[in-house]
Amino acid sequence: MTTEAPPKKEEPKKEEESFLSLFVHNLWSANTVTVTFLSILLALVIGAVLIVVSDSEVLATFSYFTARPSDALTASWDLISRAYADLFKGAIFDPAAVSAWFNGTGDWQTALNPLSETLTYAAPLVFTGLSVALAFRGGLFNIGGQGQAVIGCVTAGVAGFAIGLPAGLHLVVALAAGLIGGALWGFVPGLLKARTGAHEVITTIMLNYTATLFLGWLILQNGVQDPDRTDAISKTIDSTAGLPALPAPLRVHFGIVLAVLVTAGVAWLVNRSSFGFELRAVGVNPPAAKTAGMSVGRTYIMLMVVAGGLAGLGGATQVLGTADRLTDQVAGNIGFDGLLVALLGRNKPWGTLFAAILYGGLRAGGNLMQVDVGISLELVTVLQALIVIFIAAPALVKAIFQLRDARTARLGASMAKGW
């Protein structure tokens, strides 16, 4: 009686197929995992091309390519494989260091250092990534993660050196300060969005600059600036406020554990809480949410407060975990990187966690790559950007690899709605 599609009867039948055949079938279809994997692969390939074309020595071998192609190919291959091997060794483990540890010539710290570095870089990114991802789920594009993280750094850092409290409590207070600072910085664009409709992309970008300038001013003020220094650097946080860490030289600290816990919390918030229900409804269809009695404006404000708090916590992790004091670069780029992490993690909490670890790995490995073969960290930026482009345009990946259509996964993080 209607034109609706007849209920699909095939689905239960398919479940009876052997898991293996289903697996093989799905492997080359455009599902999330395959596309993610291929996106990374594509990015690495393009990165390799960049490495080769920008290396004058290798490029020189191409000038007589027709005469002796093997030279050019070997030279390229050597360079690329060494660079990417470094990426791996710097991010996960160096087989040499591990075997040295086992036969007693090395120590466990050296063997575990790459992983430690990866997790150290990943920890703040988890928070900023979650911040962006959560806002995204609620239909807001929080480019302000950077500013919120900066303010989080400031409040956590100031709480870390300005007040004296017993260990443990001090840490909690400092973390809370970071959270609240970031939340305040998120509250402003949320309020403006809800009240005046001011687009959060613009307001948060402007607040990023404002936050950085504020930090630059603050660390030169009496009481904040390190009295023994004339340059822009603050006092060191008290040891009572520092996140517990593994013994040096390993840098990995409690922040990563906190990150996992917070990821679980955000996952619960999105999927199982009333607020999560609201924010998801507001995210995909604000008019329907409004019609069903939800307050879209209030949700936007709450959302930005929570997102800001998460980013602020990321900033706090940075200060209390690795940096120990405020400088004008203290937040690095964690806010902007969080943006990419969220996109890569498809705005899902656990996806964001894994994306952050991947980025942490790229970062840690990139350092070794720079040290060893002198390929600058900018390559890592290029890789990160490319991965996200491919992930965001699954149709492109599909076209390049001739994937078949996925049966289930709806691809395309199409959040397009403009201003």
């Binding site: 710097g90 260091a97 050296t110 250092n113 570095e117 150290t120 630059g216 030169l220 220094r229 004339t230 340059d231 822009a232 650097i233 040096a248 030289p249 840098r251 940075q318 690795t322 940096a323 400088t327 670069q329 203290v330 937040a331 690095g332 780029n333 840690a364 350092n367 070794l368 720079q370 040290v371 060893d372 002198g374 600058s376 960290l377």
Partner: protein, 317 residues
Amino acid sequence: MVTDTGGIDDKSFNASAWAGLQAAKTQASGVDPKYVASTAEADYEPNLRGFVTQKCNFILSVGGLMGDATKNVAAQNSSQQFGIVDSAIEGATNVYPMQFATQEAAFLAGYLAAGYSKSGKVATFGGRKIPPVTIFMDGFADGVAQYNKAKGKDVKILGWDKAAQNGSFAEDFASPAKGKALASTFVAQGADVIMPVAGGTGLGAAEVAKGSSGKVSIIWVDQDGCKAAAQDCDVFLTTVVKNITDAVEKAVVAGATGQPLTATPGYLGTLENNGVSLAPYNQFDSKVDQTLKDEVEKLKADIVAGTIKVESPSAPA
């Protein structure tokens, strides 16, 4: 070598240090220089450790900001030789400090500028408010004051107040646009000699001077401007040279050839050992009065002899 967040191309101390390493490469065959640029303060330690793992013989940190990180890493790896530019680390025997009494040379530049200025106003600005920058500005300010005292004049200095340790900064070592804006502001205020202590940002000031058809001149810093930024040589009155390049080169060559590098006293560049100096006047040679030149020479001798002391809160202890 590990740079601070200014990066290898800061047209300032990172660049100079890197040039030193490059020069060392030509001097001693065993030297294979590598560098890594830090993007955030948190990177200093892992970057240094990266070189430790690479078993580099001489690991150089550039900039006082890296002091703490270098201290930590050096303490954990006492068998490796470290070096640091613009800082000294107490108690670390394996860190070779290279410091510079830059204020001495800047003092001469200040005197020269005050004497050369026709408008009676000179200016300086910095890239960021950090000791390796403000030390220039302190010396410059004192030099101007010396001139005023000696001649009973009232040459004003814009952009730096030594007593208050406060002045104009571009907050950027790589933005000629900001340098240009600052410099043109000073010119509008009447300054006709400007000393930008801001790496690449200072190129903007040279730009302004070029557009002034000879009215405004620039005192460059770090490396002789007529070599570092040859295209602007016609506006460089002189340069306050801080010879990081040579210092680094010597240290590395020494390290590579097995000579010991002692952490104390380390290296202190002064007017006396030519670690800091005033570069030749180059194209301004004919424009500067001989008497002024002589006075500057005399001052230099006085400083070397210790009869004049130039002080700065940023000066190495």
